[in-house]
Subunit: 277 residues, 2 copies
């Protein structure tokens, strides 16, 4: 299967945390100037701002708001904390609606000291509790499976199969999955599970970056596309064959790149996007 080469930037989205040194106003201006079409917004980027006005500012810059990041973190040892997580997620659904983001990304959570099985049940309960609110607000929820190296404290959902299983338990067009090459590239079932979530209408978002060799930090050493070992073109081909035609969202969390001049880094992202996605 040949993946069709990318010829323009109309599907390029960048996550605000990728250019963390910029505030959201600077990011919007610079993304738009180089032709980036979409932005995903980290909750932190809205701090001290009016959410609705910020959404309008982004649209005025010509940017589409692709997703709001990140809800989830449902598991907790105490029932009280699980209820707090549910409240926080409902608030984030409201914020996504104000911002004009159609999708809230869920990083499901995990609690060291309790079994993954229990955390998974609490995740399912948490989703059940917030889904009616999301449906009413017409905000989609995307379960993002995280790499197994985050199973200790960030997510007990670590494969696309698990995310698909979970999404399919609920009969809702507002619940689906988020597909991120960084978390999923190693999975021998990735092609089949990608097809599956396309067929079920559950493939809501597609995130890209690369896996550096060696990777030197568990959180903040993601690579620019083409810099590592992930065959992004192949995976994009699978995602598009599964019927996805949304944005390719660049999500690079990297101390190294945050230390660079961010306009230079942005140019590198655009070039890497044209050559390696």
């Amino acid at each position: 299967m040949m993946t069709v080469p990318i010829i323009d930037l109309s599907k390029l989205c960048i996550h605000t945390a990728t250019t963390k040194p910029w505030n959201i106003e600077a990011a919007a201006q610079y993304y738009a100037r180089v032709g980036v079409a979409g932005m995903s917004v980290w909750q932190d980027a809205l701090e001290g701002r009016n959410t609705g006005k910020t959404g309008r500012m982004l649209r005025d810059c010509g940017l589409q708001v692709v997703s709001y990041v990140r809800g989830g973190f449902f598991p907790a040892a105490e029932a009280r904390d699980r209820l707090t997580a549910i409240d926080d997620n409902r608030k984030m659904i409201d914020e996504a609606a104000e911002l004009g983001a159609p999708l809230l990304v869920l990083v499901c959570g995990a609690v060291p000291g309790q079994t993954l099985e229990l955390s998974r049940r609490q995740i399912e309960d948490g989703i059940a509790a917030i889904l009616p609110h999301a449906e009413k607000a017409d905000i989609r929820l995307g379960i993002e499976p995280l790499h197994p190296m985050y199973a200790d404290s960030r997510s007990a959902v670590n494969t696309l199969r698990q995310a698909n299983d979970l999404a399919e338990k609920f009969d809702s067009r507002h619940l689906g999955v988020v597909h991120d090459v960084y978390h999923l590239w190693w999975d021998p079932d990735l092609r089949a599970e990608t097809e599956r979530c396309g067929q079920s209408g559950n493939l809501f978002a597609f995130h890209i970056c690369d896996w550096k060799i060696p990777t030197e930090d568990f959180l903040l050493d993601r690579g620019l596309m083409g810099e590592g070992c992930i065959d992004i073109k192949q995976i994009r081909g699978w995602v598009e064959s599964a019927g996805f035609n949304g944005f390719n969202e660049v999500e690079i969390f990297s101390k190294k790149y945050w230390e660079m001049d961010q306009n230079t880094f942005l140019d590198m992202i655009v070039e890497a996007y044209r050559n390696h996605v």
Copy 2:
């Protein structure tokens, strides 16, 4: 399911790399003195020594040689390099026989820049090439799936299901799998795949340590049992229910512990073994 508590050290094995600052003679003496019953031997530990004599020395100390580590690394871009890997593995099979180790552990390998699918085919070809030699020498080969965070350059086999699939492709009682909690604990299919490899007679070895939170190094920050988030008792229960009654092998690669007095560390291992395995 209750896992039966450990009451003695007759199933405790330690891998030489766990106490890397000691040479194999010191390790043998100190392991035996505290009642450890088995040793797994890293190839490096034999450097400059007669392999057969070293094996006798270990048995004279009262230690059983449990496994020889590590063969594998079959994938390579060049055919010549793949043949070299096969030769190296045949040599390691001979060394295992000389040492008196019944099992050679295979870390399968992966090559950045080629697809995981291709690496997996090369792994299968490599195993096919060395298996007759292993059968003739009566040395068992154990496919050890590595954590997905090692899929870039160490192993394209990252789940117990993959290892089971691969082992079952060959109809040989000399090919099976190595089950390591560090690599496998996160897997939602772990219990089912553990049962499966027990039923097929392919569960050859069981490795233990813990996953620290946070883990600060991709290779050398493994935890002492009880120090992290792995439910080792639960997994040992699954392994034993699957019919395994071999050694519990402690494999802790840790800069932090290597900096300690190794006799103190050894006492900590024995205590952690009694309390958390």
